[in-house]
Amino acid sequence: MTYERSTNRYPGAGPDTKELFIGVEVPKAPETAAATKKALRAERTAIRQFAIRVVAFLAPLALIVFGIELLLWRTGETWPLERVIAAQEKNLRTFFSRDVFDHGTFRYKYLQVLRRHPQILVLGSSRVMQIRAEMFGAQGEAFYNSGGMIHSIQDLNHFLERLPPDATPKIVILGIDFWWLNANTKRVANDAFAVGVERDGAYAWQGHGYALSGYVRRPNSLGRLVSYSVGKKHDPNAIGLEALFRRMGFRLDGSKRFDLKIPNTAEGWERRLPSPKRINAMFRNGDFPFAFTKGVSRPLLDQLGVAISTLKARHVFVIAYSPPVISGWDRAASTAPGQEDFWKECHQILPEYCRSLDIPFFDVITPQQFGLDDRYMRDRYHAHETFSLYMLRRFCDDPRIRAALPDVPAIAERALASPKTNPLVPDLPDPTASPERDLGGRGKAGEVPDQID
């Protein structure tokens, strides 16, 4: 028996009426006739066969997907961040960096802050990642570098709102990027921290999709994945594909290691040095993060004041500084229209502002003030670890900081005098020399004074 779906036919039916829904008589539409047992059995068989057919079609695809996922798991790329942290705590030599999946830096670092309750905490963007626990001597055990977690003053305030009181550090080294005070700098999102801290890329299906997509488009790269996950190139200390491929990633103390080769020749250094051309162009064009502006944004400055006051109210000793930029930037900033006033104001206002809040501030934006050149810079606005040690030594000229970080001057003197120290990496004690050491947590950092004047 058939029934008609529609009684009217109109041009809406389209050009090929036979293919269309409207007006088409649909065959085989049994209405109320009771289905016989035989018919029911046949229908069940058909459903089962259809399901089997679908499974058979998907099986080879599922096998490929499962295989790739297995290899990715073996590299640590798809490990949840909690597992990464646990693995790093077990093996101090490990370093972590994802390649295909979202790094989850906000969450990774925040989880570490909650877990370790550091008493010395470095806060800032990727430009502060070079400060290491070994630079602080015995206090290093209660140190954590959360560089890369704060990209704006909004992020800083969101972090402080979220930080439980019992996880409050005693000392905060705050790297302030000048462009945090530029209202015209377009940020990816003002709530980057607030959103990012909730996310772990390992759980996002898109990450798995992009990984698969990459291997489908470039099947050759599967060979590389195999050799790094189960082959000779596998390194148990590297967690994540970027860590495996490029030998770089976050250490347990939050600092970032890079696999950098020291050039042997002047030409080698010439090739390695970051070119000022690009940064000049960025200033000229107002590219991110150097957007054109008339001056320092007062509302943003006030927000910075709120963050520092919050820290001070929790009895945190704040050391603020502006991380460095390669040489020549000042010429570019002073000649590019729409840049000069802002940069001048930053140099004037920020130290005064910090002084008014009674916190030390160091304007270390030009490496030349330490007698250093661009060899100490990894790129346009990221310094190497050696630069950070010079900087910490300078910080200790302030008696308050010297009292708070008593080991730093001696460590810095020793490391900077060592012939093994080069512009990239200082000769610091091996963090893995005593792997059985307690990784700290609360109450393990007795060296940090309770009261810092």
Binding site: E19, I22, L212, S213
Partner: protein
């Protein structure tokens, strides 16, 4: 839950497995529960709205069925119209009309501030409201008996494949399918799976890869060049088609797995040879709805030519406004109305004359396509000024010559897609390959799946019609 997330596929498999274990009544209950779950996944609060308006329509239809007096029936129909259009107007058009009213007051010298509400548009409200209206109007017109089984009625309104972005199904077509036993149909199921594959391909590979380019150009019209905007307009034409028809293919394909048939919504619209032809191929369910319940109600073809022309314009303007509370949509609808009337007056017998020289047909297809693209500019622009800026920039660039920035990627995607559609233009959908040898079919499926995996844009880009 969106069709393009893995959650939907898991949901579909679970519902499908349960569905075929149940008798008809159980299947209907399952469909309602699954549909509410599907809709509530986005925002469970709007479920109450959906249930309330659906409940009102169900009760109103029963009342209309029980009375003989036309006047009383009309009163009940008004209840349905007021509740449905009232909810739609409140959520979708209140701010728009409030702002326009204030503009008028200000223009005549009265100072007033618009009353603006901060409301979120419930997903799919335009679609399920129109679907519900088709039912109550048909019951009022005595074209069908009201349904007594409340579960069946909720199935008709909330069936998850069509709930959020159509196609808008008519009660006389879909509702009765829930009255009858459904039996598994192998051919329907396989064709449904194929159509879903086509939908995913269109949406994830074509539409979502065109979206970033189109969004960049239209996102900063003042800085974009004329040529860039021209390529973006062509890109948008394919983006919106693949986005919306991709959704429809997934919806129809999903429904076929349950041996339920939804209305066809697209019939290769860019091969239309005239604007009237285009509207028989584009968003068929909406144009049919307007024709059935607005155009015919206004007198249809039984009126004088000028009155018919006026009715056509009214239908197109309303159709534009249906898409959103913005003058750009009204202008888009108005342009289509004008183009339609142009063809109607100039070439009244165009659709009967199909045996013309192929070259002429191609020219007509190209001409129609460019008219449609021109109207898309206003559809995509956020304001009339922006739309006009785009047109003037494109005009200046084309008149100046020196074509620049030809987007090979867009061109290749469009050409490949048009080729596949052209060779299948007489079939229900472009992946209707049931006639192929099984080996060839499976190989084709694998190739498409690998293309989707390899080239899909996995950044979540919502379906464009979710905004409507």
């Amino acid at each position: 839950m969106s069709f393009i997330t893995p959650v939907y596929l898991i949901f579909l498999v679970v519902v499908w497995l349960l569905y075929w274990k149940l008798p008809r009544r159980g299947q209907n209950v399952l469909i309602v529960c699954a549909s509410f779950f599907f809709y509530g996944w986005w925002d469970w609060r709007f479920l109450a709205l959906l249930i309330t308006t659906t409940g009102i329509d169900y009760a109103v239809a029963l009342k209309m069925g029980a009375v003989k007096s036309r006047t009383v029936r009309l009163c009940w129909l008004l209840v349905s119209l007021v509740s449905n259009l009232g909810v739609l107007g409140f959520f979708k058009y209140f701010n728009f009309f409030s702002a326009q009213f204030t503009h008028v007051l200000n223009a005549i010298g009265l100072t007033a501030d618009p009353i603006l509400l901060r409301v979120v548009l419930p997903l799919g409200i335009s679609f399920y409201t129109f679907q519900a209206l088709s039912y109550t109007i048909d019951v009022y017109r005595r074209r069908m008996e009201p349904v007594r089984d409340v579960v069946q009625y909720f199935c008709f309104i909330s069936f998850f494949p069509h709930l959020v972005a159509g196609p808008i199904n008519f009660a006389k077509d879909l509702l009765q399918q829930f009255e009858h036993d459904r039996h598994f149909d192998w051919n329907e199921a396989t064709d449904g799976a194929r159509q879903m594959l086509l939908g995913y391909f269109k949406k994830m590979v074509i539409a979502d890869n065109l979206a970033p380019y189109v969004n960049t150009a239209f996102g900063d019209v003042t800085h974009a060049s004329g040529w860039q905007l021209l390529w973006a307009t062509y890109g948008f034409a394919f983006q919106i088609y693949c986005d919306f028809s991709g959704y429809t293919d997934i919806a129809i394909g999903s429904a076929k797995l349950f041996n339920l048939r939804l209305m066809r919504n697209f019939a290769y619209p860019y091969f239309a040879e005239s604007i009237p032809d285009f509207w028989r191929r584009w968003h068929i369910s909406l144009s049919t709805w307007f024709r059935e319940y607005v155009y015919i109600s206004l007198g249809g073809n039984r009126t004088s030519k000028p009155r018919q022309a006026l009715n056509i314009m009214i239908v197109f303007l309303l159709s534009g406004l249906w898409h959103g509370a913005n003058w750009t949509f009204v202008v888009w609808g108005g342009l289509h109305g004008l183009f339609y009337l142009g063809f109607w007056f100039a070439l009244p017998h165009t659709d009967e004359n199909t045996n013309r020289f192929w070259f002429i047909r191609m020219l007509r297809i190209l001409f129609t396509f460019h008219l449609v693209c021109f109207a898309w500019i206003f559809f995509r622009a956020t304001s009339l000024t922006e739309g006009w800026t785009v047109i003037s920039k494109i005009g200046s660039a084309v008149l100046a010559g020196h074509m620049v920035g030809l987007q090979i990627k867009i061109l290749l995607i469009a050409a490949a897609f048009c080729f596949v559609e052209w060779i299948n233009r007489n079939r229900a959908h472009a992946f209707d390959i049931a006639r192929w040898h099984p080996m060839a079919r499976w190989s084709f499926y694998y190739v498409i799946v690998l293309i989707i995996i390899g080239y899909a844009n996995l950044h979540y880009i919502p379906f464009i019609y979710f905004d409507f």
